[in-house]
Amino acid sequence: MNKNKNLITPDLSVDLGGIKMKNPVAVASGTFGYGREYEDYMDIAAIGAVIVKGTTLEPRIGNPPPRIIETPAGMLNAIGLENPGIDVFLDQHLPYLRNKGVTVIANLAGNSIEDYAAVTAKLKGHQGIAGIELNISCPNVKKGGLQFGTDPLMVKQVVQAVKKETSLPVMPKLSPNVTNIVEIAWAAREGGADALSMINTLMGMAIDIDRRRPVLANIFGGLSGPAIKPVALRMIYQVRREMDIPILGGGGIMNARDALEFIMAGASAVSVGTGNFVNPRAALDIARGIQEYLVEQEINKISEVVGAAILR
């Protein structure tokens, strides 16, 4: 035993492209509502960042049920962006989070470049938002429903359009449903992205053999949970090996060991999504586990291990 071990108080704070987090563990959009759903379980202000439910300009009722189904070590969801609209978020949920001292990342979505710009512009003059995560896994209705996140030019354009409307850090959430994730990451960076959030869910489906039908009413859904962790790690590694941009890494993180894998693959911070459903306090437990690892390894700052596993 090294007698100095107890002297180390590692610095867990992270600057994610201008988003200041007190620790490197965020909760992922769509898995934590607007934060208050979990207030019985923990001090939500202690979480590195709460990325709130994806919000659009107008309210959306979402997809018909069934919306979710469990799959091996994971789940599929097709919620359909049910949300009350940006005005309700700003009037009813943001003040609560601000008063609690929560680090809030807004998650914005739209179906056209104009939608994204308009919903971003709504944030002007509202205090208490640390940054913006852009959901670019939505269909672009003006381009025949092609997902923004699958086309490098559209990714660049949507990030540019949003950057014009805000001084907040902008972090597109990349879709893994692409052939070349590095190309998409470059496009986001060229558009002015301050950080990247990686990865969104992998598109999948499940079939009910008794009814001979897809299980989800939406037919397809997004796969999340431990099942997708290796894919997420691979994509983060590929991107971080090619470019110097802060990454919020997530995809099936359940514990501190998982989180450290993401950090060593190049993520500056991590997000816990489906893991919140299994353990509502996962984000705080994981932050503590990372701290214990740093103490054990006598590492002063979390940034020292970011990308540590990347072979150059």
């Binding site: 509502g33 019985d40 979402g62 997809n63 018909p64 069934p66 049910e82 459903f277 509502p280």
Partner: protein
């Protein structure tokens, strides 16, 4: 009342029919907070496959002893794992969750209609109502005599019980709703039901015909259990746009708010 996480201890877990189990759990902190009709979100295994918690109806609570009972049907991987739990095993509990039944006032007369394992959430309602000196009648329908064994627990706390079985092995040969048709609606101030959707649809129709106040308990696949993921969306009726969250807005809903179709699946109250 606040919900929370608790590591409960299994006291007993035994089959009461071929695929129904009763599990008694020592979980004193959670037991204090349980209301009839609420559910516990239970992790079936500490590893990650199967991943999600299972929402299980609270069957009964002995709050003074800190014991919660669950009646569940083994329907899939999660409940199969739960069925293997043994006394002294730890069990990871989140709850109590959801909006439960409206408790009747003192001295009311209420009727409960349960179908299959859907009878589960009605038991604690019966106990609490009887403690309030209510008159409680249970109409229970099930596949066979073994399943109707669940009625004994209701009788022990003082409920009046009538039963029907599909195979005729006990009680009336037929549907529980046949028993309901013979009841005099003016004898009761409230009706509560839980079971297969077609059964609840008939119970709702009967209640609405007789202008009786009532509540139904619904089910849907769930992930978070607290209203955060919006996975358990349920369309309550055709007139109302949008969806309710079964986990947070329910699982108990007023009969007037819900339009149930008798053609809707025959799924019993239990998630795998």
């Amino acid at each position: 009342m606040m919900s929370g996480l608790e590591m409960g201890r299994v006291l007993d877990n035994h089959p009461v029919t071929r695929d129904w189990f009763v599990m008694d759990i020592a979980a004193p902190a959670t037991a204090q907070k349980c209301q009839p009709g609420q559910f516990l979100h239970i992790r079936p295994i500490p590893t990650y496959d199967p991943l999600l918690r299972r929402p299980l109806s609270i069957y009964d609570v002995l709050s003074a002893s800190g014991i919660i009972s669950l009646l569940y049907r083994v329907a899939g991987r999660g409940t199969s794992l739960l069925a293997k739990a043994e006394p002294e095993d730890n069990i990871d509990i989140m709850g109590p969750l959801g909006r439960g039944f409206t408790i009747p006032m003192e001295n009311e007369s209420i009727i409960l209609v349960g179908g299959g394992v859907g009878v589960a959430p009605l038991m604690y309602l019966a106990r609490v109502s009887l403690e309030r000196r209510c008159r409680v009648k249970l109409l229970l329908g099930a596949a066979n005599a073994t399943q109707l064994g669940a009625a004994k627990r209701f009788e022990r706390v003082g409920a009046q019980v009538k039963t029907a079985s599909l195979d005729g092995s006990a009680g009336r040969h037929g549907l529980v709703t046949d028993l309901l048709e013979e009841e005099n609606p003016s004898d009761y101030s409230r009706i509560y039901t839980c079971g297969p959707v077609p059964m609840m649809a008939r119970v709702s129709a009967w209640a609405k015909t007789h202008d009786m106040w009532g509540e139904v308990s619904l089910e849907e696949h769930m992930a978070c259990g607290v209203g955060a993921c919006l996975g358990c969306a349920c369309q309550l009726n055709a007139l109302q746009p949008g969806y309710a969250k079964v986990c947070k807005d329910g699982p108990v809903f007023n009969i007037d708010a819900v339009e149930l179709s008798p053609d809707q699946g025959g799924k019993e109250k239990c998630l795998e």
